[in-house]
């Protein structure tokens, strides 16, 4: 009984609400004769999106590639940076203000300059995605590494274990849940970063599709691209959560 009720609450009710909202939207566009370039009906979006399906595969692939590249960069740079910050107070003093500085500059403002410097293609979009996404990785990883219980550090020291051994066997695994928290934020920010990069200058990718289709009044195509983007973000987020569950199985029971 309670399982049924939970299913109702978690799946059926939100799904039904969504369907109702779509129907209301559909009906409104017919009833008020809203022009399709201003607000296309869901059916029109789906239809036009289906027409575009083969072209969308290529554009989605490009944006996915840029997003994953930016995410990989932000992990590959963010985690080691956090390790340096935690282990060396001097480096912390040197690096931390710079990292905060990069965060204080609006990324949308850097993007045109970056594209000017790095040129066309996917790499500059990855760099924009990286710049948007790496900050939470650094902050969360550093927080996680600093959160090692002092008792465990004393214990490792009393066994005369090397700093590297303590890092690999104690501090890094204990920080994993924090690192994943950062990774989950980073993956969604990477999607945003890739799209921002495409907005500034590109001839491929979902961000490019949104920009170009709206300038031709093809609003249905823009909507389709937005749906694909959010689906991509959801799938990527779920993928990171899945990896987290595999790598930190001890968290599973604590959450439920």
């Amino acid at each position: 009984m309670s399982a049924v009720r939970r299913l109702l609450g978690e799946a059926v009710v939100p799904a039904a609400t969504l369907v109702l909202a779509l129907l209301a939207w559909e009906a409104a566009t017919w009833a008020f004769r809203i022009p399709r370039f201003i607000m296309p009906a869901p059916s029109a979006i789906l239809g036009e999106g289906w027409e575009w399906r083969y072209r969308f595969i290529e554009h989605t692939w490009v944006t996915l590639y840029e997003t994953l590249g930016g995410f990989a960069l932000s992990m590959a740079v963010g985690v080691p940076l956090a390790v340096l910050i935690v282990y060396s107070p001097r480096l912390r003093g040197a690096i931390y203000p710079l990292i905060v500085l990069t965060q204080s500059v609006p990324k949308i403002a850097i993007a045109p300059v970056l594209l000017l410097v790095l040129g066309f293609g996917e790499i500059p979009k990855m760099v924009v995605a990286f710049l948007v996404a790496f900050f939470p990785v650094v902050v969360d990883t550093a927080t996680g590494l600093a959160a090692t219980p002092p008792e465990l550090l004393d214990l490792s020291r009393s066994y005369r274990a090397s700093a590297f051994k303590t890092f690999m066997k104690v501090r890094l695994p204990l920080a994993l849940p924090f690192i994943f928290a950062g990774a989950k934020v980073a993956i969604t920010l990477s999607v945003i970063g890739a799209v921002v990069g495409e907005f500034v200058g590109s001839d491929r990718g979902l961000g490019y599709v949104i920009l170009s289709s709206t300038s031709y009044w093809k609003t249905e195509v823009a909507f389709s691209a937005m749906i694909l983007l959010s689906l991509m973000a959801i799938v990527l987020f779920a993928a990171v959560s899945l990896v987290e569950r595999v790598m930190c199985p001890w968290l599973a029971t604590e959450e439920s």
């Binding site: 465990l152 004393d154 214990l155 009393s158 001890w250």
Partner: protein, 255 residues
């Protein structure tokens, strides 16, 4: 076994203030002796343990363990803290083996002794469980097994039962005595609890705060093996009153 000679410890806090954690202390602890340190917070009990373990250097004086001056951490020590601090991704058995692994010893040789220790502490059959599946008392038993596995001659315990409920706490005290009867170690045991300090100890070191120092060392002349019934023994009460008066007399001196 352990000799502290005119040992003093002063810390500098992050804000730059000097904290006199431990005033000049001279103390001698015999081989296989069970000594408890009791006193209010801030009396330097934990500092004393860290000094003996070589985790922090003394500001003055000298510490010797088995006639060897302590200059840094040495592996002949087992540590048990107030929190079990087990690693959540490791099974009970792997948590016990953690100490041996960090010491860089051959794990295979310690699987059997680890099993024996779990048996000794009543955890047989829990080898493959994870810390989150255990109660607080059982987790602390795992921590004790972890400390005992490399067979150190010195066991340092920093309020090991302080986070447990009162009933589990009594049970664990008696169990520690049983383990100690079986595997004689020198034990330095820090506690806030006066009854616990008396129940366990050969000698009780009563400490007072600001700066932390030894107020008195008293020998507990109660027969072993000890049981909870001893709490009603007049000698137990006499010890308890004496310790209490030492601690509270120290408090009255200050406004």
């Amino acid at each position: 076994m352990i000799r502290l000679q005119e040992v003093e410890k002063t810390y500098r806090t992050r804000r730059g203030d000097l904290v006199h954690a431990l005033a000049e202390t001279t103390l001698e602890i015999g081989d296989r002796e069970l000594v408890t340190l009791v006193g209010p917070s801030g009396c330097g009990k934990s500092t004393l343990l860290k000094l003996v373990a070589g985790l922090v250097p003394p500001s003055r004086g000298q510490i010797r363990v088995r006639e060897q001056p302590v200059t840094g951490p040495f592996p002949d020590v087992g540590f048990v803290f107030q929190q079990p601090v087990l690693l959540p991704w490791r099974s009970v058995l792997d948590n016990v083996l953690f100490s041996v692994e960090m010491l860089g010893l051959d794990l295979r040789q310690y699987r059997k002794p680890a099993g024996d220790l779990l048996e000794l502490t009543g955890l047989a059959g829990f080898e493959t469980k994870y810390p989150r599946e255990l109660s607080g008392g059982m987790q602390q038993r795992v921590a004790i097994c972890r400390a005992l596995l490399p067979d150190p001659s010195l066991l340092l315990m920093d309020e090991p039962f302080g986070a447990l409920d009162a009933m589990t706490r009594e049970e664990m005290s008696l169990e520690l005595l049983r383990i100690w009867e079986e595997r004689r170690k020198t034990i330095l045991f820090v506690t806030h609890s006066i009854p616990e300090a008396i129940l366990l100890a050969d000698r009780v070191v009563v400490m007072s705060p600001r700066p932390g120092r030894v107020a008195r060392v008293l020998r507990v002349d109660l027969p072993r093996p000890r049981t909870m019934e001893l709490e009603f023994d007049p000698r137990f009460k006499a010890h308890s009153d004496e310790i209490r008066s030492l601690i509270f007399a120290g408090r009255k001196e200050r406004p």
